[in-house]
């Protein structure tokens, strides 16, 4: 009996994982359906745009400027080993727009937004506000989930674009004030080096990450168990799963975009 216990444990966790995947898949399908079918709630959508996009600008901007600045120092130091210090503007630019801008920016948004959505919807659930929505002839998926997921999918790429620019500016500041680069040449090297797809791929990543962030916030909020502890658990699970999914999907997207 005891000898089979580990096998039973593996079986149970496998079943639980498959069940979770199924629930999330159904949630995604329902969300997508509610995004494209009426009624639409524009007021909720614009409120979400402000909350997710506009109010995340400071944290994304600060993350980007310090990341760009540190990146410039690191690349300068590393490239000096083979006398290639001149590539700092190009590597900062490509590093920011392809990877660090989308990934770090989205991780910061995940911490800020996935937690806030999960806590808000979770609290609504435990205080019967979700039930109240249903009795008021309003579908909670359509009213709460669809506008937030759509808003995050559209605004996170914009945040990434702003973060890219600020990150490159951080590298520029360090490059020109600390590392002795000429201002005009730094900018010229950055602009001439970047290709459309370098920036475009980062924006596509931003859209996918935005979708993941809002989806995880809504999913865990809607499935929050009773009480303050339930809401706390939902919030934690939303941030952790959004962060892990961002990193995992970043690898897959990078493989798809650049492996050839």
């Amino acid at each position: 009996m005891n000898a089979l216990a580990p096998v039973a444990g593996i079986g149970r966790s496998t079943l639980a994982t498959v069940a979770s995947l199924g629930r999330v898949s159904i949630f995604i399908a329902q969300t997508l359906r509610h995004i494209v079918t009426p009624p639409f709630y524009p007021r909720e959508f614009w409120t979400a745009v402000i909350a997710i996009g506009w109010l995340s600008l400071p944290v994304v901007g600060l993350t980007a400027v310090f990341t760009g600045a540190a990146l410039a120092l690191q690349i300068f130091d590393g490239s000096a080993r083979f006398s290639a210090e001149a590539v700092v503007p190009q590597i900062v630019a490509i590093g920011m727009v392809r990877e660090l801008g989308p990934v770090l920016g989205s991780l910061m948004v995940a911490a800020r937004v996935a937690s806030s959505i999960a806590a808000e919807i979770g609290t609504m659930k435990v205080t019967e506000q979700i039930d109240a929505l249903v009795t008021l002839s309003t579908n909670p998926m359509k009213y709460l989930t669809a506008p937030r997921v759509l808003a995050a999918t559209l605004t996170v790429p914009l945040l990434v674009a702003v973060g890219d620019a600020i990150g490159i500016f951080g590298g520029y500041l360090v490059g020109t004030t600390r590392l002795g680069f000429n201002e005009i040449n730094y900018l010229k090297n950055t602009v001439n080096f970047l290709e459309f797809w370098d920036i475009g791929s980062g924006l596509v990543k931003g859209a996918v990450f935005g979708f993941i962030i809002a989806l995880m916030g809504c999913y865990y909020g809607m499935n929050s168990s009773r009480g303050a502890q339930g809401v706390g658990k939902a919030t934690k699970a939303a941030v952790v799963s959004a962060s892990v999914l961002i990193l995992a999907s970043n690898y897959l997207l990078t493989e798809a975009f650049f492996s050839s």
Partner: protein
């Protein structure tokens, strides 16, 4: 008319409803009483479609609720939740006018606001409350706002879930009187769940007692004190001795 026929509902191994049969005639006020955890809220949520029964049929005006157009069906209902369930991100008037600002009952914003203020007055609140947030109000005021929201779209059926829980006796009396007045005034069918006997006497035309997952007794409120039913006697008198097991 609301009819529940042999309604069963279990959560895991916990059989909450074990064959509930109940009829609430049109325009009557039915109060369901019973101890905590006996499934009163579950029964109410089954009627609203918030919880799906495992077995049995629920009909509203003769129509099986599982076959009804959900939006159309719910547009006839109003509900006052135990904790108010007000949307804390919205102003009070937007809570009251929620149904009038979207969906098939949508009205222009100004008109919806006027109706909301009128409903707030009806439940004894000043117009100045309209622009406050729910968190700025006392528990009694939140219940009144919840009541105003429940009646805003002039529903034919109104549910009240523990309407006086958490309120002081005077405010409980005020809410009970308001509920009674509004239900009579609107000619609505009302279903209330409570374990507050003062509420029962103030609100009910008929009373049903839910215990062990079934309706143990039902009858007019006038017979409440004369019933020989031992369950009812124990509940009304709040006695620890009797057929209802009191866990101490």
């Amino acid at each position: 008319m609301i009819q529940l026929e042999n309604v069963h509902k279990s959560f895991g191994n916990n059989a909450v409803l074990r064959g509930v049969n109940l009829e609430v005639p049109k325009g009557e006020s039915m109060v369901i009483i019973g101890g905590s955890g006996t499934g009163k809220s579950v029964a109410l949520k089954c009627v609203l479609g918030l919880v799906r029964p495992d077995k049995g049929v629920i009909r509203v005006d003769g129509e099986d609720i599982t076959r009804a157009d959900r939006d159309e069906f719910l547009s006839h209902f109003g509900m006052l939740f135990q904790g108010g369930a007000l949307f804390d991100s919205m102003h009070v008037w937007e809570n009251v006018a929620f149904r009038l600002l979207r969906g098939r009952l949508k009205k222009p914003r100004e008109e919806a606001r006027e109706i909301a203020i009128e409903k707030l007055r009806r439940v004894g609140l000043r117009a100045s409350v309209a622009d406050q947030f729910p968190a700025e109000l006392s528990g009694g005021m939140q219940k009144r706002v919840g009541l105003a929201r429940a009646i805003a779209a002039e529903p034919q059926i109104i549910f009240f879930d523990e309407p006086t829980t958490g309120l002081d006796p005077i405010m409980s009396g005020v809410i009970n009187d308001l509920i009674r007045e509004i239900v009579v005034e609107m000619g609505a069918t009302a279903m209330t769940i409570t374990h507050d006997m003062t509420s029962v006497r103030a609100i009910a035309d008929k009373v049903a007692m839910l215990h062990d997952g079934v309706i143990q007794w039902t009858g007019p409120v006038s017979e409440l004190d004369n019933t020989g039913d031992p369950y009812m006697q124990q509940f009304i008198n709040g006695s620890a001795e009797g057929p209802i097991e009191a866990v101490r």
